[in-house]
């Protein structure tokens, strides 16, 4: 949909793009991975009619609202809109972070780690949480809170390692 093409980082020259987590993750443990550049599309409408490409991951929040994690947001948006489902490029809107450990998860959210993916409270903000194999998780959250999220996660990790607060 051309009226919204100004929303897509994929339409920018690649060298213009930066991640909201970049500065916060300098020197962070390898278990934390920045997923912010990954394609994310918000869907509104009959989610049953969304056509999925290989590797696409659909997270249903309500029967009419969902998020699509996809390698090619532009194609996904075209496909969804062709099928009558409104689609918005949220790649730039959401920061994404992969992390490991159920204890870390429990220190950040009240959500049931056995009932993911879902959206809910996470470090006092709202996030979409996904569980991968074992104790690996992904969180997607408003990018303007991305630096905050990284600060909190690093602080929790320091606490779990028995270190002193880096605020001290």
């Amino acid at each position: 949909m051309s009226a919204l093409y100004f929303m897509s980082p994929a339409r920018c020259t690649p060298e213009t793009l930066a991640s909201p987590l970049e500065r916060g993750l300098v020197g962070a443990p390898e278990s934390l991975r920045d997923l912010s550049p990954d394609g994310k599309v918000e869907l509104r409408g009959d989610l049953a009619r969304v056509g999925l490409a290989e590797g696409d991951e659909l997270i249903r929040l309500t029967p009419r609202r969902g998020f699509l994690l996809t390698g090619d947001p532009l194609a996904a948006i075209d496909r969804s809109r062709a099928n009558g489902v409104l689609a918005y490029d949220m790649t730039g809107a959401l920061g994404g972070l992969a992390f490991e450990g159920e204890t870390l998860f429990r220190r950040l959210t009240d959500l049931d780690p056995g009932a993911l993916p879902t959206a809910g409270g996470f470090a006092r903000i709202s996030a979409i949480l996904v569980r991968d194999e074992g104790e690996r998780f992904r969180a997607y959250f408003p990018q303007e809170l991305g630096h905050y999220v990284v600060e909190v996660v690093l602080d929790v990790l320091a606490g779990l390692a028995g270190g002193r607060s880096h605020r001290a």
Partner: protein
């Protein structure tokens, strides 16, 4: 306040994930008198007992829904999606 509220989509969640928007009111249809208007804008039944009220799962799926809650015990009797236009 730490009770658990069941979102119609996401299921039981702690109440702090939700935004509360007060009891269900009836908006006047057209040109109300000042009395009718102020009743609607400013007055609430504020019952001690079962009340129908608006909630939004703000930190979750974002849905607005209706809940029937006992204001004395915070027991949630039922939740439902609104039927627009009523």
């Amino acid at each position: 306040m730490s009770f658990v509220l069941a979102c119609p989509h996401c299921g039981p969640r702690p109440v702090d994930e939700f935004a509360y928007s007060g009891e269900v009111t009836r908006r006047p249809q057209s040109s109300p008198t000042l009395r009718e208007l102020t009743d609607y804008v400013y007055f609430r039944d504020n019952v001690a007992g079962r009340q129908r009220e608006w909630w939004q799962h703000r930190q979750g799926c974002g849905e607005w829904f209706l809940a029937e809650r006992d204001t004395r015990t915070n027991e949630i009797i039922s939740v439902s999606l609104p039927k627009p236009g009523t």
